[in-house]
Amino acid sequence: MRVVLSELWRARTLIDALVRRHIATRYRGSLFGFLWSFLNPLCLMAVYTLVFSHYMRVAGGPNYHILVFSGLLPWIWSTSALHEGTASLVSSGHLITKSMFPAHVLPCVSVLASMVHFILALPILVIFMYFAGVPVTATWLLLPLIVFLHGLFLLGSVLGLSALNVFYRDVQHLLANILTFVFFLCPVVYPRTNIPERARFWIELNPLALVTEFYQMVLVEGVLPPLGALIYFAVAAIATLALGVAIHQRNREQFAEAL
């Protein structure tokens, strides 16, 4: 694991350049450009608020839309990192087969680029909170730690998944379906208090569900996540990273031939 991390560190100039390009690519040629980073989650938030809060009335509270938004932003980061990261080795195959390109840089770029989108969308959340009268509390100070651990978890996942995807293209299709399912297992569109007590343990075993709760607590509710949960998440993130790196390392020599 240390090898890969130090290699990634040495390639930081390259990663930086690729992340910049990645971000620039996404909205190049579009009229609203970077605004789409905000518009996408805003539209989703509007839809979910309308459906769940007004039509189905499963979720209540005047600040439901803020809760949804604070959960949606990290969720969008997770899904776009996982989708793009998993496909990254295959979609940039020509770089791996035709030039001396460090393969592990590609999944890393996917995670970082979508992280930048996530961070840049946070001010919108603050604006919403301001209008709803929800205070920005000192718990925001915990945000960097959560983002860091979340990032490690995603990096580990995509390092492993992208390597598997080189040999089994099914992985990326499978992932899309699994993520749809997982979305509803995460307390994004419903308050976590709605989770039945006997299912809570199992739901919160899922790092993606847990991290959603962390964001909601820290950003909106102004409470600190329980230390135990935080430790569990940190362990899960590092274990995922170790596993992902191991899978990647085991297979990296075959990438150029399989692509």
Partner: protein, 451 residues
């Protein structure tokens, strides 16, 4: 140049450790095999097929796994500052070799040790994004080659000027012509301080002027003591550029040494292979297609034979200067056309003729004993008549030879159309059909003589 070649020889003699020569590439017992699993259609499998494979162990094992050995037990060292030309036919392992040196592929067995920074010109402009401007792509490409942003900024103007793209550097590269695209890729790659420059058949970028510039730049890098590994089918540039040629054949080094000698051996080998191919088609008459180095060329001249056979042509042979039967000639070669005949009924005005057509039907040359005012003695029974062409003077291509025995008025005794196929091979870049002997003079002083 001589000194470094001597070093190479020395290193060949004593591989274990000689003083004074630094090696930038050290390859020991290198092998590379590719597994092509014949069960799956592509090079990748799906979970489903992998699972099926698990359950059907039996059939899985029975299916033949094709293992291609692209590189077989290669050991070589490349001294610092040398310039190596890698030649060989398609599929001989040249590209695999380059990918092993760059580390894109990992060896199956053995090892490759490379000292220094490698710039690989395998695909120019790999990683360029069409929607980004030349400037943006240049910066990223520089970083991908291992430069820092500051270094890229420093060299930016030089790179752009070299690529001759000053006017369009801020346009998206999708608006570039393919030549401009490649120029940018090449320019970035050669301005990244490589210690070893790997060039895979990419010198055909842009127009002649730019190619000259590329070659100048490579010469400059060589002067700075950089190592060059050139993979190309352009044997001329190997001869001009390299102080050593390595001929790969089916994953093994078939020959290595002075470029001229190795290239000659290689050329001879290729011609022999071609000759066999020509003989093969002649055996399978009608010979309508004609396998060539660069693929099959359709021969529009069909083999045919007609005539009264009062005089019969029993055999036709073409031989080179060494009196051996050959099918591939150089423009400067001589050719002896031997026609064996059998006279069944004595003739008073017997004429023998020859004609050469290019494979596409162009009539290149034709004459006969009557046109050439040759007095034939009275021919009875059997014998042989030869026509010796001292210098063919034809340019590269596939040709067919017609021979005929007829009466002066054209009445045919035996007419062989496309009796023999042959090819002309040279590295001549003269265009057209013929290559006459010529000399160039400046103010009546001869400065060059060509054939």
């Amino acid at each position: 140049m001589v000194a470094s070649s001597a070093n190479i020889l020395q290193s060949k003699a004593d591989h274990c450790g000689d003083v004074g020569v630094q090696y930038v590439v050290d390859i020991v017992n290198l092998s590379k095999s590719f597994q092509r699993n014949s069960r799956s259609k592509g090079s990748y499998t799906t979970v489903k097929s992998a699972l099926l494979g698990l359950f059907n162990r039996g059939s899985y094992d029975r299916s033949p796994r094709q293992i291609t050995r692209a590189i077989k037990d290669l050991t070589m060292r490349i001294p610092k500052g040398s310039s190596i030309g890698l030649i060989g036919r398609n599929g001989s392992g040249k590209s695999t070799f380059l990918k092993l040196v760059t580390g894109i592929y990992k060896p199956t067995t053995g090892s490759v040790a490379v000292a220094g920074r490698v710039a690989a010109l395998i695909e120019l402009g790999a990683g360029f994004h069409p929607d980004f401007t030349g400037r943006e792509n240049l910066i990223l490409a520089g970083v991908m080659h291992g430069l820092t942003r500051e270094q890229v900024a420093e060299r930016f103007d030089k790179i752009v000027a070299f690529a001759e793209l000053e006017d369009v550097i801020d346009d998206p590269v999708r608006t570039y012509s393919s030549g401009m695209f490649m120029r940018l890729g090449f320019s970035v790659a050669v301005h990244t301080d490589p210690d070893i420059l790997l060039v895979d058949e990419v010198l055909a970028v842009g127009d002649a002027g730019f190619v000259a510039k590329c070659k100048d730049r490579i010469a400059e890098l060589r002067k700075e003591g950089k190592t060059l590994i050139l993979v190309t089918h352009d044997l001329e540039s190997v001869e001009r550029w390299c102080d050593e040629a390595i001929w790969l054949h089916e994953g093994e080094v078939k020959d290595r040494g002075y470029p001229r000698r190795v290239i000659d051996a290689y050329r001879h080998f290729v011609e022999k292979g071609e000759e066999e191919a020509i003989l093969e088609t002649e055996r399978h008459v009608p010979a309508q297609t004609h396998p060539e180095l660069g693929g099959a060329v359709e021969t529009k001249v069909e083999a045919a034979r007609w005539g009264s056979r009062e005089v019969e042509i029993t055999a036709v042979q073409i031989t080179g200067a060494d009196a051996s039967e050959r099918r591939v000639y150089h423009p400067n070669d001589s050719m002896r056309i031997s026609i064996s005949y059998q006279v069944h009924t004595a003739q008073s005005d017997l004429v023998f003729g020859i004609g050469i057509h290019r494979a596409d039907g162009l009539n290149v040359f034709g004459t006969n004993t009557s046109i050439d005012r040759v007095e034939l003695p009275a021919l009875i029974s059997s014998g042989r008549i030869d026509c010796v062409i001292d210098r063919l003077g034809l340019l590269d291509g596939s040709y067919v030879l017609d021979v005929a025995a007829h009466r002066a008025d054209g009445y045919p005794f035996d007419y062989h159309k496309a009796a023999v196929h042959f090819s002309i091979r040279s590295d001549n870049r003269v265009v057209g059909v013929i290559s006459p002997e010529r000399s160039w003079l400046v103010d009546s002083q001869e400065v060059g003589r060509c054939a």
